[in-house]
């Protein structure tokens, strides 16, 4: 209890700290630039109760988020990081141009800061704008290691914009909180756990499909081997703005006058979430977007915008009336949760919450886009720059509330116009094509233009995320030369959107604005979109290029751009060894296991897997010799992009005592003698995932016997009921029903041809 109170106080203190920091920022105009700005950061384990339960978090200087760091262009930053954790850590300065050794990526630009050690990051501030910083070690970012990093323009800067750069500004950092350990979240995602869907109410089971009149949609979906569709992967207990779910800012600082009516405020928004895209909307009218990823853009008025993971946007909002606080609302893309910041004092004017997604409409859309081989069909539509949002079919505020099927619709061909949100409604949604830089951004003349193409790839079933179907551990660094221009064409062939982030550089995104293409360092790319970005290679080093969804990055959706003949990094002399470490970090082995303690025996499995390899064992143990014991162990490798095929080798062992004296032998359907009672055999075969997600297994045993088997697990009957079956040529069969009570516990009943009928408790990890 006492800890909880302390944390609450800390959060309140943070609120004040936040206000003071913004106060500092407004004063710092007067201080002459070129100074050294010094910060001390103490990284320490902490407990928080954001999600209603006390859980481990990481606080810096006692705060979540980390303190806002403010500099002016021309300053020198000196940031002393004290690691008081029991594990290594690092800090990455997101979006900054700085010497490679200060970039803060462990095993790429430095070694992790060891426990109880201190590191000093020191670099010149060569740009202005809204940026942020976060840990680049493991999954620490999810635990609270994110903070705003505000770089101010000098007054005399010709790019200084009156009415934009000189109005009150508030740093806003968005994030999310889960009560689960991030490592466990990561593991559950790889094991295709549907616990998050249950928590979110998005199981999309057969019962729900039938109720919604979408039975056929669901069948088609499973026929095409897709799991329930969703726009995000993880269930979060709470969303946070500046570390709080709901908060109010009445004045720039506690001592300054409260916001007046008509006053304009600049929000410097960073998305510090590990995997959440946020919709941003405001109760006091339109928002004016003035910068993106720290780079100025021509002001543009919008009703709402989506901010990708790790992107930053600067928006100006106004306070229309006296004695009213206006809600700034951040809603997760899945619309399950939201967080509010009230600007102003007095009665709180709310803004309309985003209505629930129409998931089955989304599923129908996915069915239409998905080919049988798992690739996507864009139906001849040219998609890029977030202009067409396929998910628009799920947005009730754009495409109307859920209604019964309209017969006339079926024959209609989908066209581009059906997905252009801004043309379907009065609501103006920002997209990349609307961003225009304030000055020309054309690249300097270079001797060479290097063009690279990447297809973003991945599959949801095994949660593998990659580029060109290769994870970081399967590729070398990409070599580039200093001075050359690099053009990257990205196509997203996966089913999720990805915020691709490049370290150390801003790239131009070719969006039809010609010389005024906006500069960014994060590109959100939606499924089936193709986008082109380009940058001048002007800063030597090893730079990470990766998906900023934390769990995608940890799954290996990364590349490294490495300058040829670069100087030795004093923090990391042995780069070869370090790169191996980096590769290993993003291809970790995941463990899962389950066992059914039933009246007729134990039934279970355990599995170790990484991106390509799988070692699994299944067992059925009776309680008596006559009921028998058996295990099957397989070691295999998943092939192909969708990983629907896995050849394996293995070992089978069985023992069963016969009742009575007659030694009665069984035959399989091919008339072969079956060694069901006493078997110790090596085996080779394959698993193939068929339509309807049925797994076909074929294997040959060392004695020449063979066996074919069909199996389907986890048929979603209702929100929490799963069914499964198995049948094989050894005349064995099984049928089961499982009710999921909690994350790790279920009740299971099954009938097994060998062991008969059983009821039991199913535990899984």
């Amino acid at each position: 209890m006492s800890i909880k109170i302390i944390i609450k106080i800390k959060i309140i203190l943070f609120g004040i700290a936040l206000l003071t920091s913004s106060c500092l920022s407004s004063k710092s105009f007067q201080i002459s630039p070129g100074r050294i700005v010094h910060y001390e950061l103490y990284i320490k384990d902490s407990l928080v109760s954001f999600g209603g339960k006390e859980k481990r978090a990481i606080a810096v200087n006692g705060q979540i988020p980390m303190p806002t760091l403010t500099f002016t262009e021309g300053d020198t930053a000196e940031i002393v990081v004290h690691n008081l954790l029991n594990e290594g850590t690092s800090l990455h300065w997101h979006g900054l141009y700085l010497p490679n050794k200060e970039d803060g990526v462990p095993f790429l630009t430095q070694l992790p800061i060891a426990p109880n050690k201190t590191m000093i990051y020191r670099f010149a501030i060569k740009q202005s704008g809204t940026h942020w910083y976060h840990s680049h070690s493991g999954l620490q970012e999810q635990l609270g290691m994110y903070g705003s990093l505000i770089l101010l323009k000098k007054r005399e800067d010709p790019a200084f914009r009156n009415g934009i750069d000189d109005i009150p500004q508030i740093p806003v950092i968005l994030s999310e909180w889960t009560n689960l350990k991030p490592e466990n979240v990561h593991r559950m995602l790889h094991n295709a756990s549907d616990w998050f869907a249950i928590k979110k109410g998005t199981t999309q089971s057969y019962t729900e499909a039938i109720k919604a009149g979408h039975f056929k949609t669901k069948i088609t979906n499973e026929w095409k081997r897709m799991l329930a569709m969703d726009v995000s992967d993880v269930y979060y207990e709470k969303l946070l703005i500046n570390g709080r779910n709901e908060s109010q800012i009445k004045a720039l600082t506690p001592s300054s006058p409260i916001f007046k009516s008509g006053e304009k405020i600049r929000l410097r928004i960073s998305n510090g979430g590990a995997s959440t895209y946020f919709w941003l909307s405001y109760a006091g009218g339109k928002m004016t977007v003035v910068a993106n990823d720290g780079n100025d853009v021509e002001p543009i008025e919008v009703d709402r915008l989506i901010i990708g993971v790790s992107e930053t946007y600067d928006v100006i909002v106004s306070i229309p009336a006296e004695n009213t606080a206006y809600e700034f609302l951040a809603t997760s893309e899945d619309r399950i949760r939201s967080s509010s910041l009230y600007l102003g004092s007095g009665v709180k004017q709310l803004t309309s919450p985003l209505p629930k997604l129409k998931y089955f409409e989304g599923m129908k859309m996915m069915n239409g886009m998905m080919n049988m081989d798992g690739s996507m069909d864009d139906m001849g539509m040219n998609m890029s720059l977030q202009k067409m949002d396929m998910n628009v079919v799920m947005y009730p505020e754009i495409t109307g509330a859920i209604k019964k099927k309209d017969k006339a619709m079926k024959a209609m061909k989908m066209t581009e116009d059906n997905y252009k949100s801004n043309e379907l409604s009065d609501i103006v949604t920002l997209n990349y094509a609307m961003l225009k830089a304030t000055t020309s951004t054309t690249l300097p003349e270079a001797s060479q233009l290097k063009e690279l193409r990447f297809e973003l790839s991945g599959n949801m079933n095994r949660y593998t995320w990659s580029m060109d179907n290769k994870v970081l551990s399967e590729v070398d660094k990409i070599l580039i030369k200093k001075g050359e221009n690099i053009r990257i064409i990205l196509y997203n062939g996966s089913m999720m959107r990805h915020p691709m982030h490049l370290h150390g550089h801003d790239f131009r995104i070719l969006n039809g604005q010609g010389a005024f293409a906006p500069l960014k360092n994060v590109l959100d790319i939606m499924p089936m979109e193709t986008d082109t970005i380009e940058f001048n290679a002007n800063l030597e080093g090893d730079w990470f290029f990766h998906c900023h969804i934390l769990y995608h990055m940890m799954a290996g959706m990364n590349r490294v751009f490495s300058y040829e003949n670069q100087a030795v990094n004093p923090y990391l002399p042995n780069k070869k060894w370090a790169y191996k470490k980096l590769q290993r970090e993003s291809n970790q082995i995941h463990f899962m296991a389950s066992n059914d303690f039933a009246t007729n025996g134990n039934d279970g499995m355990a599995m170790l897997q990484n991106t390509r390899w799988s070692l699994s064992t299944e067992w059925r143990f009776g309680y008596m010799n006559t009921m028998g014991y058996e295990t099957e162990t397989h070691f295999g490798r998943y092939l192909g992009k969708m990983q629907w095929f896995m050849p394996f080798v293995g070992f089978d062992w069985r023992y069963r005592q016969q009742i009575g004296e007659i030694n009665f032998q069984e035959h399989n359907v091919f008339g072969m003698l079956n060694s069901k009672d006493n078997r110790s055999l090596f085996t080779a075969g394959f698993d193939a995932t068929l339509p309807m997600l049925v797994v076909f297994q074929a294997e040959v045993f060392q004695n020449g016997d063979f066996r074919f088997q069909l199996m389907r697990e986890d048929i979603p009957i209702s929100k929490r009921i799963r069914a499964g079956f198995m049948i094989n040529t050894d005349k064995e069969y099984m049928f089961d029903l499982r009710y999921i009570i909690r994350k790790n516990i279920g009740i299971r009943t099954h009938y097994d041809s060998d062991m008969g009928f059983g009821v039991g408790i199913n535990l899984n990890y």
Binding site: E246, S261, A283, P320, A321, E322, N323, T324, V347, K348, Q349, L350, T351, S352, P353, V392, V393, I398, T399, G400, A401, K403, D406, A408, M409, M412, T415, D417, N418, L424, S425, D426
Partner: protein, 287 residues
């Protein structure tokens, strides 16, 4: 003996029911707060939005507009409850409902939004005044055409609502259309317009009324077919301030086809909305 047991039983049931009542909300705290609303329907909606089983209980009094909030202090607070109620459309002194939620309330529930108007009226009021002056200055002629222009404007708003498949909005806009129809002073219409007006009036009223009385977009669309035809007839004689496009979708009206009017040439189909937004073509441009 029997009596005693029955008495004990009664006592037990009473005790149990009392504890059951108490067990409903633990760590209970009660606040009395004003919530704006009008009628019995409001009461239902307010209480439904505020109540969470075993966590919070709201009772709203129609006469005093005061709500009694009882809640578990360990699980929630009055601000959370009031926010939920505001999101359902009902203002309090701590939260103002989103405009959309308020406008979606049934007509009888659309209470006067005092707070909001105090805060916001100044600027619009000024505009209204100048607009009124302008109208007063304007000649009779303009007023005449304005009469029907108002109807056309409202028609386009109804159409836009149907493009969005927003039944509630279409209903509200139809109500406005209906009052615009009723406000027409026939004696001020020119001769030829008057004749057409007399012909279409009954149907116009009937269709607008039907559309106002339902929030079901598919029912509204049925009436929108004839409504559009009549507005077209009217516009042919009365003229509108800008070019209007008469558009046709062959798939609407169960494949029999239907028409509508639009201020822009680009097709935005009011009969299908987003499902088939671009079905149709312009068949005539009314200048």
């Amino acid at each position: 003996m029997k009596k005693i047991t029955s008495k004990i039983l009664i006592a037990l049931t009473i005790m149990l029911s009392i504890t059951a009542c108490n067990a409903q909300i633990k760590n209970a705290k009660t606040d009395t707060i004003k919530i704006y609303g009008n009628c019995g329907m409001c009461k239902k909606a307010i209480e439904k939005a505020g109540n969470v089983k075993k966590v919070s209980l709201v009772e709203w009094n129609i006469d005093t507009k005061m709500a009694t909030l009882t809640f578990d202090t360990k699980q929630t607070n009055s601000a959370e409850i009031l926010k939920r109620i505001a999101l359902a459309g009902y203002d309090s002194d701590s939260f103002l409902s989103p405009d959309l939620a308020y406008s979606n309330l049934p007509n009888c529930c659309q209470y006067d939004r005092t707070k909001k108007t105090i805060a916001k009226t100044e600027a619009p009021k000024m505009k209204m005044d100048t607009a009124n002056q302008a109208i007063q200055k304007s000649s009779l002629e303009i007023e005449e055409s304005n009469q029907l222009n108002n109807i056309f404007d409202k028609y386009f708003e109804v159409k836009d609502a149907l493009v969005k498949t927003d039944g509630a909005l279409a209903s509200a806009k139809s109500t406005a259309l209906l009052s615009a129809i009723k406000a027409v002073k026939m004696d001020k219409l020119s001769m030829d317009v008057h004749l057409v007006w007399m012909k279409v009036l009954t149907d116009l009223q009937e269709d607008a009324e039907h559309m106002a009385n339902t929030k079901d977009a598919s029912h509204q669309r049925e009436h929108f077919i004839r409504l559009s035809d009549n507005i077209y007839t009217l516009m042919k004689v009365a003229k509108y301030e800008q070019s209007v496009y008469y558009q046709h979708c062959p798939m609407a009206n169960d494949g029999k086809g239907a028409n509508w009017l639009s201020k822009e040439n680009a097709i935005k189909n009011p009969y299908f909305g987003a499902q088939m937004l671009t079905c149709g073509k312009t068949v005539e441009t009314i200048k």
